[in-house]
């Protein structure tokens, strides 16, 4: 790799890391504000104007709280759990294309940390690793409620990962590539995949809710049944890591969803914009557009959270195994038949 490319990559890694942390930080604030607005309240408004410093105050509190490791907990694993959760949440951002290429001083840089040709598989691998953080944490707590929460998380993730993978297969049949950058480029302008795969998108969306443990699929944590959930025994920043990982996961899965189905950094009439303003401004507008899609998606996650109550566990399993998986398979068949017929009749 040439030196400018290397420097650009390092800078991009740092920037993306910082952005995902800041977005996760302010997602906690946004969650409280959005919840307040949905419930005709005001929400945090004491720390700074409109409560804008609330995440800093929360973070400071998290760091200063007493750190408790229960006597009977498995000490090493107890610490590994939250670390693993936040690690897997953070490394998912490596393959997401944040924008099209920009040119600085004659060098062309891709706004993507690395374009591996198995990007989708990488994302899936990282996402499925994420449950280890919860699983290990619940196990190491040596608390039956935590363990129950962790088991719920594990079985939920396994069930929903299958239908998520199946819903993606139909998309991959159309795109013919596993590289996220190529998938994003194929949706140039307004040819977003969601128009071609509405059912697949719906399935993916439901599975994304389950994978990020967001309501209505937030079974791993449940005050009424499990005291707290997998994080019952956690305190201070270790609990903070778990909660933080959930918000980073939400950000990353929104980014993946935007890239796979909502055209990534593509927006209508982008060629006209590039022709009139130049390539670089058009690319930057693309980044802004992508973040707009991501933020709307995060808002949607919150919107659903404050609308729908939690599923019962057997309902969750029924939905996953008896409805989503058959639907995903039907979607694959439909896509296969449809695309074959279309190519056969020469469209």
């Amino acid at each position: 790799m040439e030196t400018p490319q290397l420097i650009f990559s390092i800078v991009l890694i740092v920037v993306i890391f910082a952005i995902s942390l800041v977005v996760a930080m302010y997602s906690t604030y946004a969650e409280r504000k959005v919840a307040a607005f949905f419930q005709d309240r005001i929400g945090p408004n004491r720390a700074g104007p409109w409560g804008i410093l609330q995440p800093l105050a929360d973070g400071g509190k998290m760091f200063l709280k007493e750190e408790i490791i229960p006597t009977n907990a498995t000490g090493f694993l107890f610490i590994v759990g939250p670390s693993l959760a936040i690690l897997t949440a953070c490394i998912g951002s490596a393959v997401i294309p944040w924008g099209s290429a920009i040119t600085i001083g004659g060098n062309t840089f891709n706004l993507q940390v690395t374009d591996i040709n198995v990007g989708v598989l990488y994302i899936f691998g990282v996402v499925s690793l994420g449950v280890y953080g919860i699983m290990i944490g619940g196990w190491a707590s040596n608390n039956k409620y935590s363990l129950l929460g962790a088991i719920r998380a594990a079985s939920q993730n396994i069930s929903y990962e299958i239908s998520m993978g199946l819903s993606i297969i139909a998309l991959l049949m159309l795109t013919g590539t596993l590289s996220l950058k190529e998938i994003a480029e194929q949706q140039h302008g307004f040819a977003w995949n969601v128009w071609r795969q509405p059912l697949g998108f719906l399935l993916f969306l439901v599975c994304a809710f389950a994978e990020t443990n967001r309501s209505p699929f937030d079974l791993p944590e449940c005050e009424t049944e499990l005291v707290g959930g997998y994080h019952t025994e956690y305190s201070s920043m270790k609990l903070g890591f778990y909660l933080f990982a959930e918000y980073i996961n939400m950000f990353i899965s929104s980014a993946v969803m935007a890239t796979l189905y909502w055209g990534g950094y593509n927006y209508p009439f982008m060629d006209n914009v590039a022709a009139s303003l130049g390539a670089n401004p058009a690319a930057i507008i693309g980044v802004v557009v992508l973040f707009g899609k991501i933020f709307f998606s995060i808002f949607f996650f919150m919107w659903v959270r404050w609308t729908i109550p939690r599923f019962r566990y057997d309902q969750l399993m029924d939905l996953g195994w008896k409805i989503l998986i058959p639907l995903a398979i039907a979607n694959i068949v439909l896509t296969g038949v449809g695309s074959t017929l279309l190519t056969h009749f020469g469209y």
């Binding site: 959005v34 307040a36 607005f37 949905f38 419930q39 005709d40 309240r41 005001i42 408004n45 719906l202 919107w303 659903v304 404050w306 609308t307 729908i308």
Partner: protein, 165 residues
């Protein structure tokens, strides 16, 4: 059996139709409901800065009133203590001395007047029993405190502030 009224309704439990079983229309309906609330005006009252108005018949902390000349109205007749179902009021009467005419309206006054706020049930019977219009429950909510003895309110907390101050 003969129905007692004609209000009885026979419930028909129909199986859910396809759209209802698909669950999604219901979710969309729910989402639109919450979205409507998103744009509503918050009903919050930011408490320490703004306070909600009490209703007109709210009964809060007691106050012992003064008359138009600033003299204490209470004559320590004890009717309030007698009418108090919680037995929260105690008082000691004293005779007005020479030179105290500007302080007390009549010859007898309450030297000690105590209400135990932990016993008081804010029924308002003391207010009704008082023949001198001396006691009213027109104050604020009784504030919290740490010790039980601090809930016994004496004249220092109950008597209205003097007029010309």
């Amino acid at each position: 059996m003969e129905p007692l009224s004609n209000k009885r309704k026979v419930l028909e439990v129909k199986p859910l139709n396809f759209l209802e079983r698909a669950y999604l229309p219901a979710i969309v309906g729910g989402l639109s409901t919450t979205m409507k609330h998103f744009f509503k005006k918050p009903v919050t009252i930011a408490y320490p800065e703004e306070k909600r108005e009490f209703s007109e018949n709210f009964r809060g902390m007691h106050s012992l009133k003064r008359d138009e000349n600033g003299k204490e109205r209470c004559t320590a007749c004890g009717l309030c203590a007698l009418s108090c179902p919680a037995e929260a009021i105690t008082m000691t009467a004293a005779e007005r001395q020479k030179g105290e005419e500007h302080l007390y309206r009549e010859e007898k006054y309450a030297a000690v007047y105590e209400i135990n706020m932990l016993r008081c049930i804010f029924c308002g019977l003391c207010e009704e029993a008082c023949p001198k219009e001396a006691i009213y429950l027109d104050g604020d909510i009784v504030p919290a405190d740490y010790l039980r003895k601090d809930f016994i309110y004496g004249k220092d907390k109950l008597v209205e502030a003097p007029l010309n101050q």
